[in-house]
Symmetry: none
Subunit: 221 residues, 2 copies
DNA sequence: TCTTTATGAATGAACG
DNA sequence: CGTTCATTCATAAAGA
């Protein structure tokens, strides 16, 4: 076996039998390629959509959304692919939710995610968010603090009082932007939009992907 | 040698030593990747130049948000309860954050707040909270597996040794109510927004490319 | 079309 | 500092 090992190394280093990649490297490579394919597709689609109209009304770049309504012939471009629980996943989640004390627990989340993964694509973050939203919305619905008709502020249920602390930061600056809020203009959601992406692309400008690959994987001589 | 040959084959086929690619395959792969990288960059550049002269997105007037779509039928303006950094403020904050000034520092906070105040309403508490959240969430995100798409990686000198690279997103059966059962990958997190694009990889194109790769190179178990 | 509803995700702020 | 809460954003689906 020792001999075989050496032979293998020899083969590899001399390129006799090609390049060897570890599974991790293959995985990494695969993801990169798929990512580029996706990006190309997205950008191509976006560009096509934009080029089709000289009037860009209704197009949002912030989140890569093109409103089919505002744009005369616009395509709908969706950048975000939100996770959606499958029926099975939802059922399991509801089950756990009702049984548990509402506390997710880091470890628990992991377990749940693993279990749900057998029924569809899912991530721990998804599970976390689900519980977060589930709890929050359940709570909100249970105490909607019905607005009383009389002028007096409605009596709020106990516990809600503490809530006021959270919203004490009141911004009453409307006067500032009534007439000339020009300096406040900015693109919505610039942190999740294409602009950010492009910025990143620029950062890697002049950066040879291929070279990077070679360095990373040491594939070519 | 015969034995070594067999051993090599065994190793390869069982993934013990990874996958082997011929030079031709590597070259093919290289071309594909470079092509995609090029396309992505060009399209991004094109798009950038096009969008440079137009404002398609929703705008915020101080703390008022106006949805561009709603605007087509009547401006829907809602008042904000919480402070939200303007684009300029955010940019400055990110800058400061990336420069590794990991520690807030009371005095520093004051300075930053003063500077940011020139670009919109802000308080020291806001700045403090922002850094707190920024750090916490960045750290949290570095823990679960993340896929770096070329230049998207680096930065974020979190200092936290993010080592665990295990894929948390599990691939399983195609029973998904979204309709596209061919999806394979979905990369969570990444605070640059590129994940929005990558999420698109669930689309058939990405999958096909991947399948093609697998077929072509016989990689992946 | 435009509005409403439901819900995954993002995030400022508060808590322990 | 790490978690958790409350609110808001973004969107798909369903109404009207």
């Amino acid at each position: 076996m020792q001999q075989a090992e050496e032979y293998l190394q020899y083969q590899i280093q001399n390129g006799v039998c090609g390049k060897v990649m570890t599974d991790e490297q293959v995985e990494e490579l695969r993801k990169q390629i798929v990512a580029y394919a996706s990006i190309s597709e997205q950008l191509a689609e976006l560009h096509k959509s934009m080029s089709a109209h000289h009037d860009f009304t209704g197009i949002r770049l912030g989140n890569l959304y093109c409103d089919p309504i505002s744009a005369s012939v616009g395509h709908k471009i969706t950048a975000r692919q939100r996770w959606t629980p499958t029926a099975l996943q939802l059922q399991i989640l509801e089950n756990i939710y009702e049984q548990g004390t509402g506390t997710p627990s880091k470890q628990k989340i992991k377990e749940i995610a693993s279990e749900l993964a057998q029924h569809g694509l899912i991530s721990e973050t998804n599970v976390y968010n689900w519980f977060q939203n589930r709890r929050a919305r359940s709570k909100r619905k249970s105490q909607p603090s019905s607005v009383s008709v009389n002028g007096e502020a409605e009596a709020r249920p106990e516990g809600v009082g503490a809530k006021d602390k959270r919203t004490k930061q009141v911004i009453s600056d409307s006067s500032d932007n009534t007439g000339n809020g020009a300096e406040s203009f900015y693109f919505q959601n610039s942190d999740t939009g294409i602009d950010q992406f492009i910025g990143k692309m620029e950062m890697s400008r002049g950066y040879d992907l291929y070279s990077n690959l070679v360095d990373q994987f040491g594939m070519l001589g």
